[in-house]
């Protein structure tokens, strides 16, 4: 809480009876969060699945892959369509099961374990023009290999290796 030097004490509203009598504020309140990055956190424990070189009808093949993953009851995040397949994130403890399911489908794939999600909190991220690009640029400049990127109204999410996660967090925290 901050107190402004320019404040005048609010008037009392005593003696006025209504159902929603205003309450006298004691201090001036900080309302909106500051622009830019407010926090950076890391979620660990994911595996990255890349499926490539799909043959035939590409979208039908992608759907076949997704059906195989759904059949083993694995939830996926960060699905991205690539020129010859797709890639996505699964919980780390589901990596082997998903791998077995994909082997059964007979597609070319790889499972990279030890992936983390770096969450970059920045309120109303889309209202600050260039902020998303700036965050991506800072993360890339950290030297980390970024597998995937996503965004929400108040944060960006980046998939990196466990080894790179701290480096990205440090660099983005410094940039905040």
């Amino acid at each position: 809480m901050r107190r402004s030097n320019y404040m005048t004490e609010p008037l009392s509203c005593d003696g006025v009876e209504t159902r929603s009598a205003p309450v006298k504020p004691q201090t001036e309140t900080e309302f909106e969060k500051k622009r830019g990055i407010s926090a950076v956190e890391v979620r660990r424990g994911f595996a990255q699945v890349h499926v490539s070189q799909l043959q035939g009808n590409l979208m039908e093949e992608r759907l076949r892959v997704l059906r195989a993953v759904a059949d083993v009851d694995a939830s996926i995040d960060f699905l991205k369509l690539t020129p010859s397949g797709l890639s996505f994130l699964v919980p780390g403890d589901r990596g082997d099961i998903v791998g077995q399911a994909l082997a059964g489908v007979g597609v070319n794939f790889s499972v990279r374990k030890n992936r983390s999600i770096v969450l970059v909190h920045a309120v109303n991220i889309r209202d600050e023009e260039g902020l998303i690009a700036g965050i991506v640029q800072t993360a890339i400049a950290s030297g980390a290999t970024i597998d995937h990127i996503g965004d929400m109204h108040d944060r960006m999410l980046m998939v990196v290796s466990d080894d790179d996660a701290e480096r990205v967090r440090t660099r983005l925290s410094e940039a905040a």
Binding site: E28, S75, A133, I140, D151
Partner: protein, 445 residues
């Protein structure tokens, strides 16, 4: 009680809005009103009309941000004065307040200021004197560190009036903040796409913020965030109907797994840069330069995509000209022995600028093209939900629904609250309808 542009656009709508205020007062509440500028695009005092007054003088001269803010603030001042007078004619004393008079202080960024504090002393005084305060939305004042008198008028940018409403409500510890508009509340989809889209009775702040983030014109996330932070119940209601509206609440007040709605953005242009021709050691530099350039020019990115051989994103069509201007023909030299140089090209056919650059660079040595595949005319259609996005099979469900109906999906993106697909603009409304139907949103209440 915050009234949007259409609720104050005409004498009839102002009377309808004013009667809502009177009704609240008669129920024993002490209402404080926040108003937007009168009318939407094209109306005599609407924001765009005011801007055009400057542009008409000379379209090539950009108005100064400070002066633009002074001009834009006039729309709300006019609206507040007229609304206060309307209340007076109905027998209820009212006072109009500029943002600064209402005690709203900002961080001083012209055109996109954020509220840093509110001291609502004048509003309390007005209420105590028996008035209904009518506050101009979308504006506040920046008080400089040297204490210069008066302060600088600043406007709050997108969602400014909603944010004013929520912030005034929080500062005065209101029982609730009601945002009045011309629809019954927050719908499960744009009624232009799904005529029968029902009104949601309750949503969480997170859901509504995500819906707005992904293109729906509902309560702005800034307003939702302020209300959430101060635990003020927020309602979206229709000025012109007796529908109960939508209540926006904290996550813990509305738990459960559900699909909330389907949204869509405006027109986007998708760019995918092929980095397969770049040396491995150069990729970081190239990607870094692309995003650095986008940041420098304030380009808003959607649907970011990174892979070992490419990177891509969508940009609003309105910003594409800037992107083309700065990236097509961009030259990035590498500091290395063989003096590699990368030349960016947007689209299949090189522009004259790219050809000219290529000819000039030829003498320098190894010139490599980085081409960007360009897909114009796309939109992002998003499914928004609560505790739903990690459901196994959800991507399969969405993609197969669209594929079975011959809608091409160019890319996907997802977060804790949403799953988005990039589709051709011509298929937007059909994609919204299909997903709305697939997830039985017509039955949502």
């Amino acid at each position: 009680m915050k009234f949007g542009g259409t609720s104050v656009a005409s004498p009839e709508s102002r009377i309808a809005s004013a009667l809502r205020v009177v009704s609240a007062k008669e129920q024993g509440f002490r209402p404080v009103v926040v108003v937007s500028a009168i009318g939407r695009k094209g109306a005599p005092y609407a924001t765009d009309t005011l801007i055009n007054m400057l542009r008409e003088i000379d379209p090539d001269v950009e108005p100064d941000a400070r002066e633009l803010d002074l001009l834009l603030a006039c729309g709300e001042i006019l609206s507040a004065v007229i609304f206060a007078h309307t209340l007076k004619t109905l027998g209820h004393p009212a006072q109009a307040f500029r943002g600064g008079q209402a005690g709203i202080r900002t961080d001083g960024v012209y055109g996109n200021a954020r509220i840093v504090g509110i001291n609502p002393v004048s509003l309390f005084r007005s209420v105590e004197q028996g008035n209904i305060p009518v506050v101009c939305g979308f504006q506040g004042v920046y008080v400089a560190g040297d204490g210069a008198p008066g302060g600088e008028l600043t406007t709050l940018g997108r969602g400014g009036s909603d944010t004013t409403g929520a912030a005034i409500g929080a500062a005065m510890k209101a029982e609730a903040v009601e945002i009045f508009t011309d629809v019954d509340g927050i719908k499960t989809a744009d009624p232009d796409a799904v005529k029968s889209a029902p009104t949601l009775r309750k949503v969480t702040y997170d859901e509504v913020a995500e819906i707005a983030h992904l293109g729906a014109k509902v309560v702005h996330p800034r307003a939702a965030e302020v209300a959430m932070h101060y635990d003020i119940p927020l309602w979206v209601k229709n000025t012109f109907s007796d529908d109960e509206g939508t209540e926006i609440v904290k996550r813990e007040h509305f738990p459960g797994r559900r699909v909330t709605g389907v949204t869509h953005t405006g027109k986007l242009v998708y760019l995918q840069f092929d980095l397969s021709g770049a040396n491995d050691e150069d990729r970081v530099t190239l990607e870094s330069r692309i995003y650095e350039t986008m940041a420098r020019y304030g380009v808003n990115l959607f649907m970011l995509d990174m892979s070992p051989s490419s990177t891509g994103f969508a940009v609003p069509r309105s910003q594409y000209a800037v992107v083309e201007d700065v990236l097509d023909g961009l030259v990035i030299p590498m500091v290395c022995e063989d003096r590699r140089v990368y030349l960016f090209q947007i689209g299949q056919q090189p522009s004259r600028e790219v050809e000219t650059q290529a000819a000039l660079l030829e003498a320098l040595g190894d010139v490599r093209r980085i081409s960007a595949q360009l897909t114009e005319g796309c939109t992002m259609v998003s499914l928004v939900g609560h505790e739903y996005m990690q459901q196994p099979g959800l991507f399969l469900n969405v993609l197969s629904t669209l594929y079975e109906n011959q809608i091409a999906v160019l890319q996907t993106s997802d977060s804790d609250f949403s799953l988005s697909v990039l589709v051709p603009e011509s298929d937007t409304l059909r994609a919204v309808r299909l997903l709305h139907e697939r997830f039985s949103l017509a039955e949502v209440r």
